[in-house]
Symmetry: C2
């Protein structure tokens, strides 16, 4: 299949480059470092081996890009309104759009913009950063869970999984809701708390008070998911997330990096949307509602400075 990558950052750059290196045809949309990558290519530094794409297919506008079989959307969700303009040139009748994005509710909103388009969620368990122009710094993990949202052809998802595996990417299919809510069990506590307390994951795990708070927040997500009828988002899974985080090096989640680099935070899809869904399902998440309020406060204060 042919691939398009909208948003060639830490995530889109990593998965797109791996696919290209495995021999797939991949077309990258770049923004700030377009000129640099034109001249120097795209490099990936990774514990699974470094590599360098010398002449990737790069673009600074999607209007020049070909139609693709799979489009990886790896924008920050705050920029999803741009998809209305960016996406159409890449779509044919059977294009699968994989939203490798944070939070809950993105598929519903993008589906509203493109009612007939096949959508799937991509949940990246990866620690990666774009530290310089043209350089993706892959730190650890890297698996991708795929949740089919509206693709009527299971064979397309299967083909995608096959090609991801051939690109040395650990990938599997999960039921859509389960995939999104499982990711939220990690995302909702750590993203906001590392901003609110100006720290990294390790700090939160080492202090008994914050460790217990993270655990309580994870349980809030599990209870909300259960109230929404999503299965398999339970205490046992939360325990795994605690263990995984204990095993990680001190880490700054994407929201912490957004805050540090004065970029807007993804509060809407990471907090507001799932908090509303949970409340409507009769299982509100008070600690995570409080965290959302703190983040909103911090963002408003920072925007005044």
């Amino acid at each position: 299949m042919t691939y398009g990558v909208i948003g060639t950052g830490a995530i889109g750059g990593y998965y797109g480059a791996r696919l290209a290196q495995s021999g797939q045809e991949v077309h990258f949309l770049l923004h700030r470092d377009y000129e640099y990558v034109c001249q120097n290519g795209l490099r990936v530094v990774s514990p699974q081996g470094d590599f360098h794409l010398k002449h990737p297919n790069v673009y600074n506008t999607t209007s020049q890009m070909p139609k693709c079989d799979v489009v990886l959307v790896c924008l920050k969700t705050n920029k999803n309104h741009l998809l209305r303009e960016l996406l159409p040139p890449l779509l044919h009748e059977r294009t699968l759009v994989l939203l490798i994005q944070n939070g809950i509710g993105v598929e519903a909103d993008v589906q509203e913009m493109f009612p007939g388009t096949w959508l799937a969620a991509g949940l990246a368990f990866i620690c990666s950063a774009k530290s310089e122009p043209g350089l993706v710094n892959h730190q650890f993990y890297g698996s991708l869970n795929i949740g089919n949202y509206s693709c009527p052809q299971p064979a397309v998802i299967e083909a995608l999984l096959d090609e991801l595996h051939r690109a040395n990417i650990e990938a599997k299919e999960l039921e859509y809701e389960k995939a999104r809510w499982r990711k939220a069990v990690w995302n909702m506590p750590y993203n906001g708390m590392t901003v609110a307390l100006q720290c990294q994951t390790r700090d939160l795990m080492e202090n008994p008070a914050s460790r217990n708070l993270i655990w309580e927040q994870m349980l809030e997500v599990c209870r909300a998911a259960t109230a929404l009828g999503v299965e398999g988002v339970d205490e046992a899974f939360a325990r795994k997330m605690m263990e995984m985080t204990d095993a990680m090096i001190p880490y700054s989640p994407s929201m912490r990096l957004d805050w540090d680099f004065h970029r807007p935070m993804e509060i809407q899809y990471l907090y507001t949307r799932p908090l509303l869904m949970a409340r409507e399902a009769g299982s509100p998440m008070p600690r995570l509602e409080m965290l959302e309020a703190e983040l909103r406060f911090m963002e408003a204060k920072a925007s005044k400075q």
Copy 2:
């Protein structure tokens, strides 16, 4: 009656000086600015009129102080273990000890140290700061609610109220539990949140997200108090606290000042104790538990620096 003041700071200095100025015999325990006050006296700057006590009775140890009819304990609660040493020289058989301190649970703990002693709670609604040696800067409000904890002689409380009134201090008696929990409705949200978000009361009231959070936290306190059988700590009272805070100038509560000046915060009595009582009564306060965890985290982090 004769008065002793243990802890001549923003609170003890204010109420003690007003009593002295009205003609009462008041004995002040000082610490850091003992020498200064010996030489320069104690000044109060206040919207109700400035005044200067040129030669107050000051001490730097309670062993030199006379027995008193009323002792105002105005230490930070973190220092209450010192009372074991400090208090005995001031006590006669009918001394009333008024704990003008923050939080919930102080009377129970002090009573354990001094089983026979008459105790009452003093709830100060006052904005005051000790800005320089020997100078109490009274900004606004100033009323004192008294809650009788273990004084078997109502006449003593009445006499105290009388003398407070004559000293131009607005004071009234409230049922003990109601007095403590009403104060908590204001104290628990604002003290911690101004630290967690590094802001003042006004900032919390102006941002819609934090304003709503403060309101939800107040309701948590009301529900806990009700579950504990305390009457009159309800939504109507919380609404008054919101209005009062709206009417205040931007204000830094005592915990924010403690944080700013690298003093220990009163987490134990302001949060841990009431949170435990609420949980045991079947009405936990999740947002305030989260706030406690954030404060514990911040304190631990600061102590490492």
